[in-house]
Each structure stands twice: as C-alpha cells, then as structure tokens.
C-alpha cells in the first residue's frame, strides 16, 4: 500500500470565486463598463425595473443587459424589444451566478462601447447575496407584497447591497407595509445603504433611481 500524505490547503472555499470576481471587476474598470448586479426574489419586479431603467437612461449611456433570471428567454426577449443589447444566461437551474458565469455572459454579450451593464440576477434572495460576481455596485428589490419583515428574515442581502429599491409602492394601500419600519431595520444593518421607493409600473421614483446610477457611474469613473 502507498504511504498516505496529508497536504494542507487551508483555503476559503470562496477564495477562488472572489479572486475571479476581483479580476473581472478590474478588467471592467479598465474598459469603462459599469456592472450593476440587480437581485431580488422572483416576481419582485427586476425585469420591469430594468425596462424602466433603460428608458430613463437611454439618452445618457449605452446599456447592455445580462439576463439570468429564468431559464426561458422570455425576459431577454422583453428587454431586446427595447432595442437594448441583451443576452440570456442559461444557468441550468443554479441558484446563483458565479464570477466565471458572469464573465462568460459578458463575453457573449460583447461589452465594447457599453457604459453600463445591468445583470438581472437569478430570482433568489439567499445565495445570490453571498457570491461576488465582480459588479461595481449591487442593488436589490424588495417589493411591497413581500412584506416589511423581509429584512429580518434575510439579513445577509440587506447588509451587503448598495441600494435597496422598494418596488410596487403603487400597491402600498393594499398591504400592511410600514415603510418607516423598513428604513429603520435596513439602516441599522447597513448604515451606508441608499433606499429608494419606486413603482416600476407607474414610474414613480424611477428618476431618483436613474440619478443614483448616473452619479454612481460618474464617481466610479473618477475613482
């Protein structure tokens, strides 16, 4: 029998992905492409918000979309109808994207000439938050019907994102949704977070969101 030999690795499992995410981030920085990671539960309004965002920013920047939300290309088609460059990632039922999958998606999309790429991440509030995809900034959507206690149930996502969009505020009167309580809960977990109530349906609040993106891109280009 061969002699057994123990080889110590002592490496965090996330290290490989984190390294690839870092490399992707600096590559995008060099190319001047701002990658925005948009996350939420299924049905919170990611696709609708992406459409609104394109509408609001189309005059200022060239936008591409990485669509990873579902395994059909319905969402990609919706976005493509707006004349935006879009690619559907087939995530094969995975619950989160890795930096590698994002890089492959960006290569498929072709980022030349783009200022902003929005990644509509897989509809999942749990593990998408944990995995660095190499984005410059990340945003999540909490929609009013999901309830104001969601930050208590899924703290990780709220702790890590740069922006929280509270969507479907047009429907707020039908739900017991305490906006102030959400602000308090979320700010306690993540003091630097920007919270913007919007309705992707009526367009309310979208201008503020578009302004946030404009200034985030501007600051990022300067840094």
């Amino acid at each position: 029998m061969d002699a057994f030999k123990v080889l110590e690795i002592k490496k965090s499992v996330y290290e490989g992905n984190d390294k690839r995410a870092g490399a992707l981030r600096s590559g995008l920085k060099k190319d001047g492409v701002f990658l925005l990671n948009l996350m939420s539960s299924p049905g919170s309004g990611k696709t609708t918000t992406v459409m609104r965002t394109i509408e609001a920013l189309r005059g200022d920047m060239r936008i591409g979309v990485l669509e990873a939300d579902i395994d059909s290309d319905v969402d990609a088609r919706t976005v493509a109808e707006s004349g935006t460059r879009v690619i559907q990632l087939h995530s094969g039922g995975m619950c989160h994207l890795t930096a590698d999958m994002t890089r492959q998606g960006l290569e498929g999309l072709g980022t030349e000439g783009l200022d902003l790429v929005i990644l509509e991440n897989i509809g999942n509030l749990i593990c998408t938050a944990e995995v660095d995809v190499g984005a410059a900034k990340s945003a999540m959507i909490l929609s009013v019907p999901e309830g104001d206690d969601k930050p208590l149930k899924y703290p990780m996502m709220f702790e890590r994102v740069d922006v929280l969009l509270i969507n479907k505020i047009d429907a707020i009167s039908f739900f017991n949704f305490d906006m102030e309580a959400v602000r308090e809960r979320v700010t306690a977990m993540n003091p630097g977070i920007k919270i913007i109530p919007i309705s992707a349906k009526t367009g309310e609040g979208v201008a503020e969101w578009a302004d946030w993106i404009r200034s985030a891109v501007r600051d990022w280009k300067r840094a």
Partner: protein, 127 residues
C-alpha cells in the same frame, strides 16, 4: 453560454451547496495538479456552525460534484467549527448556537461573531 452540467436533486436547498461544491472540487483539483498529486484519498472540509452551508446537503451532493472528475473515488470528511461570539456588554465568550445568541453571563443579546462563518478546504490526504 454553455449551461453548467449539473444534476438536479430536485431540492432547491441543495442546489446552492452543489454549485459551491463543484467550485471546491475545481479548486482541489487545481491544487493537486500544482502539487503533483494524482490520487486524492480524502478531502477534509471545515464548515462553521454559522455558515449558510448545510453539511448534510454537502455530503449529499458530493457524489454529483465529483462525477466525471479525478476525484470520483475521493472520500469526504467534514469538520464542524463552533460558532463563537463575544458579548459586547460584558466581554464573555460563548457559543452562539447553544445559547441562541444570548450571553450566559449577563443575559444580553448583543454578541460579536468571532468564529463560525468559515467554509474552508482544510486538507487532502493523497496516496
């Protein structure tokens, strides 16, 4: 884009583990190559009690993750690392899981996590 080849177990909770374990296998194979190891008898992982990873799921999906790799015959061992915290009020150290986050010394529920969120590839046993 080429879809990642994964085997769905039909259980949403374990898909996350599966994709992470695929990543682990990849890292370990890379390490083995760099170190001239051709056969890995055992892989030892360390998972913190406070990690979002569920050890049982990891064990369940390990065979799928190593399928078709050089690690098909590799055994998996998982060590659990304790989720310890320090009380912000009195400074006592205690196990957060066993005490449900409440300091056994002073009863305050405000502890800083010291350990337990790790998910590490500890070592391999090569032969």
């Amino acid at each position: 884009m080429v879809p990642p080849s994964i085997v769905s177990t039909g259980e949403v909770g374990s898909l996350h583990e599966l994709s992470v374990v695929i990543e682990v296998v990849r890292t370990v194979e890379e390490f083995a190559r760099e170190n001239g190891v051709t056969r890995i008898d055992k892989l030892v992982l360390q998972i913190g009690e406070l990690s979002s990873m569920i050890p049982q799921y990891i064990e369940d999906c390990f065979p799928c993750a190593v399928d078709g790799t050089s690690m098909v015959d590799t055994k998996l061992e998982i060590e659990i690392l304790p989720g310890n915290g320090r009380c912000r009020s009195c400074g006592a150290m205690f196990n957060l899981v066993a005490n449900k986050g409440i300091c056994p010394e002073c009863g305050v529920k405000d502890a800083e996590v010291i350990s337990g969120k790790e998910f590490m590839i500890k070592e391999i046993v090569a032969c």
